[in-house]
């Protein structure tokens, strides 16, 4: 996982291409993960809002519960002062409204923090990728120049237009 301290200058074009591929792959996975984290943060934020909204409601308030995406049944709010939080590994915890809102807020912060870490990594990888690209360009240029020089000897007259 650690960035290679091996000098990129020591690598040949083929190895550079390999490094480039690897970097690109890593970047892709990271971007996917970032999107997933973004989505998770959004879900927690929405859940927090829902809990806050519940707080403003009165007990016995009629509601429509979604059974499926398009089928709703009527109901009434039984309790507006406690929520059940899923805290992971099959455990659920009953908390009051503030506890629920706080839980969601903490989770959003946690996910945002991870997202920040990830974006740092992404930036780092992007910088490395740019470096490899630049070096690869340089190598290609050198190779081309060398090839032209080699060809320029016997066919110098034919080469020039």
């Amino acid at each position: 996982m650690a960035g290679e301290p091996v000098s990129l200058n020591a690598l040949g074009p083929q190895e550079l291409v390999q490094v480039r591929q690897q970097l690109e792959q890593e970047l892709q996975t990271m971007t996917q993960n970032a999107v997933a984290l973004q989505g998770t943060a959004g879900k927690f934020a929405a859940a927090g809002q829902a809990v806050e909204y519940l707080q403003e409601q009165k007990q016995g308030q009629p509601v429509l519960l979604p059974l499926t995406e398009s089928l709703y049944v009527g109901g009434a709010l039984e309790s507006v002062d406690s929520v059940l939080l899923e805290v992971g590994t099959g455990y659920f915890v009953e908390r009051d409204i503030e506890g629920g809102v706080d839980y969601c807020r903490r989770k959003v912060l946690f996910v945002k923090d991870k997202l920040e870490q990830l974006s740092q990594l992404v930036k780092q990888r992007q910088a490395m990728l740019a470096q490899v690209d630049a070096l690869l360009d340089q190598r290609m240029g050198e190779q081309q120049a060398a090839g032209q020089q080699a060809a320029a000897g016997p066919a110098a007259a034919g080469q020039k237009k």
């Binding site: 059940l84 939080l85 805290v87 992971g88 590994t89 099959g90 455990y91 659920f92 915890v93 009953e94 908390r95 839980y103």
Partner: protein
Amino acid sequence: MSAAQSLQQQLQASLDEFRQIQLDVQQNHRLRQQSMQQQHENEMVLQELKLLADDAAVYKMIGPALVRQEPGEAAANVGKRLEFIGGELRRLDGQLAQLEEKQAKKQAQLVKLQQEAQKAQQAAAQAGAAALGAS
């Protein structure tokens, strides 16, 4: 001829073993990642459980049903699971170290066998050339 053949066989066998070790290493990585994920999740749950009052309502999902549990008991269960996962991670670490050692040994052996095979091939080629020249 048969010496070269047996050498070739040895080489092939070593190569197969080497590949098997590589597969084992990959499997080890997968298992470790899984265990680490579980560890993280359990740690978060434990943190959450620690925030609760002693008389808070905690439910454990068993199949489709939620069963009420004492917060203390739940925390103890999660703690035990964390211990178990920690042990599993240590075991996997040990296994990985062993596998890497085995891998390095195998690799050295492979390099040696390959060199021998090359030498044998060269010798055979020379002998063949000499025989051709003689006839």
